[in-house]
Chain length 390, copies 4
């Protein structure tokens, strides 16, 4: 695994736990973790449960005892590492966004396609697909329970940088992060809604805004902790918020919003889907619930049903606790790792694929271009997914 | 009062009730109701409590015992009646939308301005401003409790025409209704959010869609009742749904959606406002509640507070029941009439003014134009409101 | 009508409105209102819409232009007025509780039975039966949708006397009010749950408590307004809270709680019913909603369905607004009056009957006796209802 | 660890995870797991991560490489194992209920007190105290934020045995389980509410019921899986539901209900506390939320605040994910183990103590005795807790 910050901790818990809850054709050994600073990486290895440490990711590719590379480092490093790892015959799990640019993502897809021919597999880490309520949503839509989809309404709302004195961390710098709210969290709702609907955006019109134009420079690599770190300010070069509307190829209308300035919303991924036969509503802040409206029910007793997604009949839940005993955020990663290991063991390409990651990247680029050009419509190419969809 | 359908019934209950709950400088007498069909209008007069009947609205203008004209007929009749009534020296309450076109609305504003000089007053019926939770929202924003406004998120979701066999009623015909979801319900969220924020939209980019292109012709004036009325179909000439994004003059981003195809959402007017210091959230399906986030509170106990807007300290509530005893939809009209009568008694221009109605019409027109032109940005003129804002 | 305080205002709005929304065999004329103080009563008559004024309730009984007596005065006056009115051949609507004691209630039932033989009818005003969500609950249980009822869980939570300086108003004096939370609000949940279940309590075990033993005497008849009215304190002689558990004759267990000390709960009537086939949940603070669990549904999509009780298929709703347009507290009274007028017009005995009122009184008395005697079990007589149940 | 069913799996995940998230003075090694059947236990050891296997719990006590015994077997085995383990100088974590009878629990307390003098420590596993929202509740009450406590309202609602064909598993047999809903889930709400309030029940009056008197015998040890296992039926010897009301020593009234027959409620632990200054409400089905009412706030903006208990300022949360990223059921065990290891490392007695477990057992016994004796009041002894309370 490369990287040991927030995503590294979440992935490690998943690697440690997957085999204890799921029957898998292969078990994972947590062989090595890689970071630039040896001392810090050794501490992380001890804390997170990795057997050895490397300080250059290239060293991982040379080791025979490593078969899977899990890339949790910032977006500007993904392309180089992933392409090299695939070339070295290592399976790759790459955190989203796949890359910071469409061009990089295209190179990664090419590498993935070449590797795939050799049985070397790749996956991009849109973990929210494995939140059981979202996996269930996909199943219900695929079964036709909602009929023809007319509306997709999705918001990813956070508030962690409302304070204008919050420092200029790497996620607020375009050269490291690619974009702001758009790529960091907008990417998740683009992927999750396309996954649920089983369809792709055909075009978009967007707006972006940076509310706080300058922020204090962090004195050290201060991570996510708030507080003015310095008297010197630097320019925020990414968006604080991105809004867009669009059309899906199947005819549905989409309304999307990603922002880090929605006070009081901490990690509110809110998705609503309206179809000709029914509707779905989800909010990650109540991630064990799915609200389903069956439009064919009697008006006398119809309405949104709050499904507590903790039954053994629900995706992934049979491996956990009895009904009513909730699961949490990190379980989405445990499911991701369990599915990845199952697919690798069974010789199947995992999803979402790098092609799926590229397609999301294209949507994000189209939104950015529309926003830069008077919100004018940006048509999107239809991407033939390699192996996506449930 | 002209018209006796849904709006007519709601207004009549308001005219009957306002004086029983509010201390008003003047009491209203419900003198005459007007409709084209004498028999039906007489039945309506009896049912709704009006003392006499007219079948030509011009007759109302000639009567000395009538001082206020309440226009509840379809949008294509508003301009002619309102302009004539103002010219005849009658105060006018006109249901929204003010008119079906910007041009008509401009003529009405001119008439209102001329009349105002003579002490003849006018008001447009955006009743949701008088839902106490919305009136309270305006108060909290005006007091600066939310700080600088960054996000406005508004949806008006209904589902009453999802059934493709629902007939082609007048609200689905452009020549009568002007537009579909956009003007009928989109108008309400444009007005309500601008009212709450105390600001205007500066530009928009929009999309509209008609999901069901043809519908059975109604055999008679079948109103809102569902069911295939005829084998012959006619073209639906209005939008089923309208989405748009925009910017307010003060810098806030806006995301709007109006649809009649959101299965399971019956009259869901959902408004969220995020500011630098706090947030508000409202859903008309729980119209007695307002959810307020105070961003200055301690993280340990912070969160959205569910305010049950039934305290005597809340707008209009002192006139109703003890705390926790809810009020309903029609109370918004009772408040509207009470305020109108108070303003007329006190010699004050009521709000929202015809200017406010025109400004909303301009927003709707800009959305329609953007939608027709590849979602490209439409800048809006800044309208100096005659007398708007709380 | 006798009395013009909170209940008088609610009843008056109902008398004024019922005929405008419901097709009734007879229309009501609001002939006279009665209060002890002439000036105050005349003001109330003007405000509430009554045509004349009396200062002695006996005068009402002598008037030929009055056919119905609506008793909204405190509980200690009910028996005398109701018995005299029935004897005078007037139909009687009596606010709950029917009386302050079982003995009085028994006399009233005897009077009602005698009058009934003459076609003179009587009704006790448990208005919450006519909240549509509760009426619908009764219908669903009666249809067997919940199967055999196992649990009844009901709370009536208020907080208006938490402040120890709130004055000693008549509702806190045993000689006027009979009891405190038990009779005032506990009576409502006893009636509502028995009505929904279609069954009676067979026995109870209870606890009561008076948290604040002394309060300032009100300087005048200060009504419900808070604030220390006097330096002199008097003893609170009623319960602040009453809890009890019990068994229904059909085997269900019941858990009940009525309190005026539940901070933040304003008028929270919360009812849950669990049966062998399903469950219901209701909270008056969201009175337009009913939550229904269908235990026969698939675990994959099962859960509580939030029914927005505003469809034309729902009880009383066809007379009001389109779906999603909420109604309020006072509508329960409008429904009560509409049903009463319909029953009188059709020559039918209205419900709930005085027998129903007596039975509730017996439950309250049993709770009080159990609470006074170490919570020991109090068996209840089975009352054969004259005409109760829908 | 002894036992490897539901509790065994939950505890194992906690033992595996605690050190990866919390900075602990000592790390745990998962040395041995014990079960009667060697094959099944070996499978469990592999699945759950234990290094070795024993089939007789006495063997664990003889091993020098074991310092802590974690008892997850049924209640009728707790006393013997715990007493022997403490005598052998092993620290003991014993799942709740502490024992099946007060007599056994008293012996265990005596053993714990003796061992404590030797530095051998003990803890009873009321894991819900370590759900962060409940830990936070305790903190807020202890700080006086709710003032004087007046009402405690607690329900533990499940529905897993509603089906009359669900088999007669050990939890439905008095000789194994001691009692039914009362001891299994009622114990949790007794402990949790006493913990939050920092007070003990002084007396109770109760009711219990067994709705389904006979059930099919399980053909094998069929665990919790539903379905008729046999044509032969056996008597259910425990309660299906238990209700009780009571008084706390500090004057608060308590209302409690534990049932396995609340259709649609899967693991609904609902707790409400009303005090003179504020209120708290919690539902385990939304376990990351706490609803707090501050009675000192302005009526204009007062109400229940939904605290999303995922901030670094909240108990245990700094060790997990960023705000808005939820945790799940098993995290309560991870917190329990982390606190236990910290206490052992720091030479401190952990809580809840065996004395706390005994006191809960006494409440349960008093409820059962009251229920058996006409609900008459049962006074409770005041137990001086050894080391309880935060």
């Amino acid at each position: 695994m490369i990287g040991y910050a927030f995503m590294g901790a979440a992935h490690s818990q998943a690697w440690r736990s997957a085999g204890h809850f799921f029957d898998l054709p292969a078990q994972a050994r947590m062989t090595a973790i890689c970071g630039r600073d040896r001392t810090a990486t050794e501490q992380a290895a001890a804390k997170l449960g990795w057997a050895s440490v490397e300080t250059d990711w290239r060293a991982l590719l040379e080791r025979d005892d490593i078969q899977i590379i899990d890339i949790c480092s910032p977006g500007d490093t993904h392309a180089e590492i992933a392409i090299a790892a695939l070339a070295a015959g290592k399976h790759v799990l790459c955190e989203k966004p796949l890359a910071n640019t469409v061009a990089e993502a295209e190179l990664m897809v090419a590498a993935a396609q070449q590797a795939r021919a050799q049985g070397v597999r790749s996956m991009v880490g849109f973990n929210y697909r494995r939140v059981p309520a979202i996996t269930l949503s996909r199943k219900l839509v695929a079964e036709g329970r909602l009929g023809e989809i007319r509306h997709v309404r999705a918001q990813y709302l956070q508030d962690w940088i409302i304070d204008p004195d919050f420092p200029l961390v790497w996620r607020l710098q375009a050269e490291r992060a690619g974009s702001g709210a758009l790529g960091d969290i907008g990417a998740h709702i683009v992927d999750a809604t396309q996954f649920i609907v089983g369809d792709q955006l055909a075009g978009v019109s967007g707006l972006t805004e940076t509310f706080v134009k300058e922020r204090p420079l962090p004195t050290a690599s201060s991570g996510l902790s708030a507080g003015a770190d310095s008297d010197i300010k630097g320019a925020v070069t990414v968006d604080d918020a991105a809004l867009f509307i669009g059309r899906f190829t199947g005819g549905a209308l989409g309304s999307f919003e990603a922002t880090r300035f929605a006070g009081g919303r901490k990690n509110a991924i809110r998705i609503e889907i309206n179809g000709s036969l029914g509707s779905l509503a989800f909010d990650f802040e109540a991630m064990n619930e799915l609200h389903l409206y069956d439009g064919t029910s009697s008006p006398e007793t119809g309405g949104f049903t709050r499904i507590l997604v903790t039954e053994p009949e629900h995706p992934y839940l049979k491996s956990w606790w009895p009904p009513g005993h909730l699961i949490g955020y990190e379980h989405s990663f445990t499911h991701e790792i369990a599915d990845l290991l199952a697919d690798l063991g069974n010789g199947v390409d995992p999803t979402p694929s790098f092609e799926d990651g590229l397609q999301v990247q294209q949507v994000l680029a189209a939104v950015a271009e529309s926003a830069a050009g008077g919100s004018r419509w940006q048509a999107l190419p239809l991407v033939a997914a390699a192996s996506s969809a449930a």
